[in-house]
């Protein structure tokens, strides 16, 4: 008669399922939901892009316009939170949002466009203005001048310096 005892226990227990789509559902504090980029804080350094395992975060640059785009495509996101972990400026966060179904693919994109800083020597944009600002703030004044030049030009300059020195 064990089988009927199980039923009795079940009846005592009552209904446990939730009317989920009709009622909201509780999620814990530490829930890892949709990542959201804080546009104000993002400097476009691309640390998150490097860390992102599924390539949900990508970095694109429009050199003509001089804008760097950080694109987050939720369709590929695995909600691991590596981006949050590596972001030096606390600019990306996982939220508790998880109902992401949509009829339009565009809804799944978050795109941050950041104006880029042009190299004063070659005129090529190579990094974002925000990043430059942040870096400059942290660096001692004597090193600042090097940061303001694009890596290529910097290479040329240092190479020139070196050859100069060798001579």
């Amino acid at each position: 008669m064990n089988r009927f005892r199980i039923l009795l226990q079940n009846i005592k227990r009552g209904v446990v399922t939730e009317k989920y789509p009709l009622e909201p559902i509780r999620v814990p504090e530490s829930f890892r939901g949709k990542p959201v980029i804080d546009v104000d804080k993002c400097v476009g350094c691309g640390a998150c892009v490097n860390a992102c395992p599924p390539n949900a975060l990508t970095l694109e640059e429009d050199l003509n316009e001089g804008i760097r785009y950080i694109k987050l495509f939720i369709g590929r996101c695995i909600y691991c939170g590596r981006c949050e972990e590596v972001c030096p400026f606390d600019a990306i966060h996982l939220t508790k949002e998880f109902e992401l179904a949509t009829t339009s693919k565009d809804d799944l994109y978050q795109i941050v466009g950041l104006r880029m800083y042009k190299c004063p020597i070659c005129g090529k944009p190579y990094t974002t203005i925000r990043l430059v600002k942040k870096v400059i703030d942290k660096l001692p004044p004597e090193e600042r001048s090097l940061v303001l030049i694009c890596p290529d030009c910097r290479e040329k300059i240092t190479a020139a310096n070196r050859s100069f020195a060798r001579r």
Binding site: I6, P28, S30, R32, A51, P54
Partner: protein, 558 residues
């Protein structure tokens, strides 16, 4: 970690030195090189004298490193807590090595996989047919060779079934079975299987006369992607996605392999948290399996009850890791900061585990004692101890056949050496024994978690290390809910793995299914297949077939 100076190991090295050059690659791994014609003697020695069992074989394209192909046979000496790698070399122009399948039937699949993926042929293999690659794959292209780019594409022939039925180039694994039996296809799409696999069961009325297995329907290029595109820190996230249930154990095994290779010492706290999450995963998996088993036995109330209890475990996982699956916590060197278990959570976890245990115990005995459940599980799908050894079956499946094996106990990783637990072993070898073994493991897991929570040490979460050295071999082994989960890693250049091969337990266990099906009733086929808790995605996903991740292909169409 074991010590070099252990005299036993010294003796062992001497003993093995007869067969080839031995070296110790990591503290628990011995590599035997240059084994020529004494291979069979070596295998016999390993299996008979050292009581080791064959685990898997790995093919590596080592041409960029040393100009040859290599095949690694992994043997596990459970008693000594050692991995013994037997490395066979094959020349790049003429890649042939000796097959060990004639003496170790369990090596069948692994060797065929190497043949498919690396292109090393095995002389003396009894069934040198394709295992993984589809029949229309070009014959001279091997996806895991280094000269094969990950985004290369090859045209797939249109009329596939013609190739299957008419081709002599690729002999389909086809034994002549008497025409008088009916073939009942179980799979690829069958309500009892939750993933696409194919069992061809030959029946006489309801009685199963013979069964054949064909797998590897779903392939994602996980190994290839990891070797070409991902960095060390990104691989755990794809390793988790090998399996939908025991993902965490895969990422742990990967991390362990890399850590072993690089000699990184993981902080205590990270080890504890890894163990806690692994045990949560195990409880979850076993409860899920029990639900599925009761569903297959037609007892849906039991299914609902088990999943109801499992729901709490999922809540726990959500509370600890932020998601209902224990994904995302591992990283090489430890645990990510986000996944730390704070002091406030400990009472909650304990409370929840207690209530799970209470509720679980309230039901499970009553369900298992039901007559129809007993009748349909007792003396059904028996795998004898001898057969289990021969096929190197793993995990609860092996323990139900009387093999006392548990990675946690005999080759402790993470924090398992710090806790006290039992390894349930039963001798019946039937489906019932498998239920009971899993049942006892659930209880053990609950006790392990509470022990770990009691002495959670306060150390950092991630080890500090500079870089990972190149060309090192590492083996990471975890006890997944389904058995030993073995990851083999050769470290490479540029923050990338050179070769990574995960071997899921179902890979070994599945080969024993046709054996268990023989002589049973068709009605019991689903529960027998399910009784090994097969994870087809684990088995399949680890190999590269199709280049683009997630790309689907119909293997056989009409």
């Amino acid at each position: 970690m074991q010590q070099f100076s252990d005299s036993k190991i010294g003796d062992l090295l001497k003993k093995l030195g007869v067969f080839g050059t031995t070296s110790i690659v990591t503290p628990n791994t011995i590599l035997i090189n240059n084994v020529d014609d004494k291979l069979y003697d070596l295998c016999r020695l390993l299996i008979e004298e050292l009581d080791a069992y064959y685990s898997t074989s790995i093919g590596v394209d080592e041409r960029p490193l040393n100009g040859s192909f290599a095949v690694y046979h992994v043997f596990v000496a459970d008693k000594l807590g050692l991995y013994i790698l037997v490395r066979l070399e094959a020349s790049p122009s003429h890649p042939i090595v000796k097959s060990i399948t004639p003496i170790i039937p369990g090596a069948d699949w692994a060797e065929r996989e190497v043949m498919d993926m690396i292109g090393v042929k095995f002389a003396g293999h009894p069934r040198p047919y394709r295992l993984i690659l589809p029949y229309d794959w070009p014959s001279n292209i091997y996806p895991l060779r280094k000269d094969f780019d990950y985004n290369d594409k090859y045209p797939i022939k249109d009329k596939i079934d013609k190739v299957i039925h008419g081709s002599t180039e690729y002999v389909v694994d086809k034994e002549v079975l008497e025409e008088e039996y009916t073939a009942v296809p179980i799979g690829p799409y069958h309500p009892a299987l939750h993933e696409p696999e194919y069992f061809e069961v030959y029946v006489d009325g309801e009685k199963i006369v013979d069964a054949r297995y064909k797998g590897f329907f779903i392939h994602r290029g996980i190994e290839k992607i990891a070797e070409t595109r991902l960095t060390y820190d990104q691989v755990p996230f794809i390793a988790e996605r090998i399996c939908g249930i025991c993902g965490f154990t895969h990422s742990t095994a990967y991390c362990l392999a890399v850590e072993n290779a690089a000699g990184i010492n993981v902080p205590e706290r990270a080890n504890y948290i890894r163990s806690i999450l692994l045990e949560i995963e195990r409880i979850h998996s076993h409860l899920l399996w029990m639900g599925v088993a009761f569903h297959l036995l037609g007892y849906d109330t039991g299914f609902m009850i088990m999943w109801r209890i499992r729901e709490k475990i999922m809540d726990l996982a959500e509370e600890l890791t932020g998601n209902r699956k224990t994904y995302g916590a591992n990283i090489v060197g430890g645990i990510r900061k986000r996944f730390d278990i704070s002091e406030e959570k400990i009472p909650y976890i304990k409370r929840l585990l207690n209530s799970v245990k209470e509720e679980y115990l309230k039901y499970i005995d009553k369900i298992v004692s039901m007559t129809e459940i007993r009748k349909r599980t007792r003396e059904v799908g028996i795998l004898t101890h001898e057969d289990a050894k021969k096929y190197s079956v793993l995990g609860p499946h092996a323990r139900a056949s009387g093999i006392n094996t548990d990675v946690r106990k005999y080759r402790p990783y993470a924090a398992y050496s710090e806790v006290d637990f039992k390894v349930p072993v039963r001798d019946e070898g039937d489906v019932y024994a498998r239920i009971i073994v899993r049942h006892e493991e659930v209880l053990e897991s609950i006790s392990i978690i509470s022990q770990l929570l009691d002495n959670l040490p306060k150390t950092p979460l991630r080890a500090e290390f500079d870089f990972i050295p190149e060309k090192r071999i590492g083996i990471g082994c975890t006890e997944a809910p389904r058995g030993e989960d073995l990851h083999f890693v050769i470290t490479g250049y540029g923050n990338k793995v050179y070769r990574w091969r995960p071997r899921a337990p179902s890979y070994n266990n599945l080969a024993s299914v046709p054996l268990m099906l023989r002589g049973e009733k068709l009605a019991d086929a689903p529960i027998i297949i399910a009784s090994i808790d097969p994870c087809f995605s684990c088995t399949d996903h680890v190999v590269v077939i199709d280049i683009k991740t997630g790309r689907r292909r119909k293997l056989v169409s009409r």
